[in-house]
């Protein structure tokens, strides 16, 4: 059993906001303007504790968006990836209400300024509205390009066990620091 997760490293390989993840997502999934399946957020800009975090959909174990969807189009796969069946989506935006991370995206292209159908991170299993020649949505293996391309190696993705293993290795390797340089980072 695997459980797909994202984990931005907040301690060692911290995000430098190069936005490689955002561009890789757009290149891979061909999402239109305004659809940001992943976004780098920065807080305390210009302050000593300036921090960037890449924010994709976190593919919750118990996803609130799934619970509130009035037409039950949001579902979770066996491997933990949260997806939706766009055909049935009514664009109400209730999922956006429920999501603690602002992950659901709306294109805002509908008539009279309506939101359009919801779109979200699919762990790269579904490009944006792309269909094969039989009209079926194209499905690919879960291989999130944001994580694969992440320049600072901040954003980890994959089976939660493998991620936690990687984080342990990273933090563990810092034990070998020497010569009074043990501080992860100083504030000043």
């Amino acid at each position: 059993m695997v459980t797909m997760k994202f984990l931005p490293d907040m301690y060692v390989n911290r995000c430098i906001a190069c936005k490689g993840c955002e561009a890789a997502c757009k290149t891979q999934n061909k999402t239109p303007e305004n659809i940001r399946r992943i976004r780098v957020v920065t807080f305390n800009k210009g302050e000593p504790n300036e921090t960037n975090i890449p924010m994709p959909c976190l593919h919750c174990t118990d996803p609130p968006c799934l619970h509130v969807c009035p037409v039950n189009v949001i579902y979770k796969r066996e491997d933990g990836v949260v997806l939706l069946n766009k055909e049935g989506c009514i664009g109400c935006g209730y999922c956006l209400f429920a999501c603690p991370f602002g992950a659901p995206q709306f294109e805002q292209l509908g008539a009279f300024g309506t939101k359009g159908k919801m779109d979200k991170c699919t762990f790269c299993v579904e490009p944006y509205e792309q269909r094969d020649n039989q009209g079926k949505l194209i499905k690919r293996e879960p291989k999130p390009r944001c994580s694969l391309f992440c320049a600072a190696e901040t954003l980890l993705a994959g089976d939660v066990k493998a991620i936690s293993e990687k984080m342990r290795q990273r933090q563990g390797s810092t034990i070998f620091r020497s010569g009074g340089a043990a501080k992860t980072f100083l504030t000043f």
Binding site: V2, M4, V12, R14, I16, A17, C18, K19, G20, E22, A23, A24, K26, T27, Q28, E33, K45, G46, E47, E50, T51, D62, L66, H67, N72, Y75, R77, E78, D79, V81, K136, K139, E141, P142, K143, R145, S147, L148, F149, C150, A151, A152, E153, L156, A157, G158, D159, A162, I163, E165, K166, S173, T174, F176, R177, G179, A181, K183, F185, L186
Partner: protein, 925 residues
Amino acid sequence: MGGYSRFSELRFSRRSFLKASAAATAGVLLGGYVTRDSSARLFEPVNAQEAESGTKLIKTICIFCAVGCGVKARVENGVLTGLEPWDENPINGGRMCCKGASIPSSVVNDRRLKSPMIKEGGKWRKVSWDGALTAIAKKMKDIREKYGPDAVFFAGSAHVTNEAAYLQRKFMAFWGSNNIDHQARICHSTTVAGLGNTWGYGAQTNNFNDMRHARCILFLSNPAEAHPVSFRHIYAAKRRGAILITADPRYSRTAAQSDLWLPMRSGTDIPLILGMANWILTNNWHDEEFINQRTNGFKYVKKVVEQYPPETAAEITGVSAEKIKEAARLMAQNQPSTIQYAMGATQHEVGTNNIRSFAILQLLLGNAGQVGGGVNAFRGHDNVQGATDLAVLANTLPSYYGLSDGAWKHWSKVWGVDYNWMVSRFASKDFMNKKGFTMSRWRDGVLAELELGQPSPIKMAFLWGHSTPSQAGMAIVKKAYETLEMLVIVDPYVENAAALADKEDGIVLLPASTTWESDGTVTASPRQVQWRNKVLDPLYDSKPDVIILLELAEKLAEVDDPGWKDFGKNYSKIPEDIYDKEIRVGARAIGMRQSTWRLKRQQEYDFAFDTETLRATGGPVHGEYWGLPWPCWNDEHPGTPILYRNDVPVADGGHDFRARWGTEAPDGTSLLSAIGGHPELNPDGTPGPGWKLDLTTEYRRLIAANKVPYGRGRARFWAWNLPDPVPVHREPLWTPRPDLAGKYPAYEDKVYGVHFRVKTKARSIQEAFINTRLYEKYPLIWTSGRQVEHQGGGSMTRSNPILSELQPEMYVEIHPRDAHDRGIRDGDMVWVSSPRGTEYGLTIAKAYVKARVTRGIRQGTVFMPFHWGGVFQGESYVRRYPKDTAPLVVGESANIIAPPGWDATTQMQTTKSGMCEVSKERPAE
């Protein structure tokens, strides 16, 4: 758990996705995506499947900065559909920043120039390639007859392959003028002069991967934004305990990840470094053995350093003495330590001295020629190192041979042309040995308002892959464009110049392919040469740069001189022959002797290379270093990843400081290393310059004897041939501290004289600025830099829908204190102005941009990114672009504000320390 039951009954009954997830599950059990190896292995079956379905994954190199990231382009039936990580590339391990990760949108883009165009009578007209090239060749001939060959200026490019860059230089040699230059002049020319004059070669000494071994890194630029992928190595160093120090007027993204921030005033790098050096000498932290054995002129440096105690440095730089002392201690007590820098240090009128001061600090600490040490100059464009080595430059022939008769004879021999014919191409033999106009001043050659070093002004110019927004003093550049008789712009996109110039006639646009549409080699910042595979056939009606140059030469053979027939005679296989038959044969002074088949073989055996050392284990590439960094003496040599290591044999990539200035300094001290020192050698082992002039030797005899062809010399603390033999502080020309300008004045005008063919001044500009009290009218320090989303002049990145969505804005960063004093709030549109251009009778320079109020900048300094164009002094010129070719996002060009300063050695422009005022009201004329 109501939610759970609901989700299992409702969602898991769908067969369509069960099938998909089953396949995924099998793969994921191998270990997730989190490590390089597992992700590569995990998708092998998938990749194989895709290959069967007609999908090709082509290994190639990113087209933006000089980190040299590799990526696999996914091509389905000839269409570029996306990217996959090239995990085995040891430089980036498959990682990309936003520019690299969106290359498909930069290459395949509807806003590209689709066919050659000519502007006539104010209208853009499509023409055939033949028509356009004929028109250009005829005009060139016409100019030669009326004004002589020096009336043509050629701006080449750092964004082309090595082969194209080399042909650009050869093209102007065949034409008979040294008026050729490119981005490196306004980028790292001071690195070449600064490092070259210290220890022999002017290039990044170590490499990105090697920074993993550093225990302290001093940043003088902002690699987190300008070279993001290098951070994977910097973080590796940090995980092992390295201390990061950032010296920058901005609290940059690099500073945010650093342990210590030194918020220095722009233009005070030298006192900062000398202040640190002073504290190092005071505490005896310097490496005496290293200094005695491998350097020359320590006593001169000591005398200068003694004048800059940390307190004095603090007074000049604005960084507290405690921080300077702490930085010095960290650098000295966490060795090996390295210095990293980029434009923030090079783009000053004292750029060469800035860079020399970094090298001096590393020599004092014994960090030069060490793993994890050295001076890491991060270069900006994908092939700027290659274009510099192959000399798209006004002051040298390829491989830094200079412009002497010997140099011309050497290259005439390589090209297989008669030296006397070469002489006949020039206006006179004098002009053959005389440096040409540079990128930073060629506009003065057009306007001819100052004393020039040639009889005729420039009448025709090529902009071959060079941008306009990166040139300082944009209003003057605009005027120069408008004065030219013909402006030829060769670019995949329509460069700003085509629209900026308010000109009815005489602009020719040629659509070059991007570098993903042809094969070629590309040199990353650490001298690593990589083979860049062609991904696509040239799109639209574009052609690769090499082909355009060869075709233009054919046209010139018809209208100008039959000698042009020899231009491409050696090339039966393009581009390999250009490299193997000429570059490899001639570029001996830097040992750029990699064969293309070795580069291709490295690409095939990429998995054999180690990320830590860049060295291959096993296979046919066993022992080679990635990219065969020059000097790479012959086909058995592994390349030299770290310059000046004398602790490994020459055959293993060792060598020593270059014995470039003879065996004895003017004061009689030795310039040969105390450890096996010897002068430069002939191939037979006798002293002499034969190593760089013999066209056949493979250096086997010298390498077997562990001799370095160019000698084993000493690094120079004391560079007696430079205006300042030891760097000293000099106040910027436009200074906010007139009180310091008396003690630390700019160079006297006579240091320059007629410099690179144009009269250049410094001291009188500084005095005029102070005497007219302009520092009161323009009290804010102005500096410029990069945005991660854009590159260079931005024609390409600002046309890319992904990047223009990620960063749609030009802005000025300003401290809340400065902003609020002026009634400016975050997001307000403001005017940034400076007195630049008034000396040419123009109005004051101004830019209308959005204010970004942030504490992340030193109070009293403002920052503007320089990638923008499309708006000139508040007015859009988008309408002057040919239909549907204007970039998606436009903004003011920052460099219009830059001060009139130029480096005394290389004529680098000053674009990092100017003065300006920011106001909500449009400034009065």
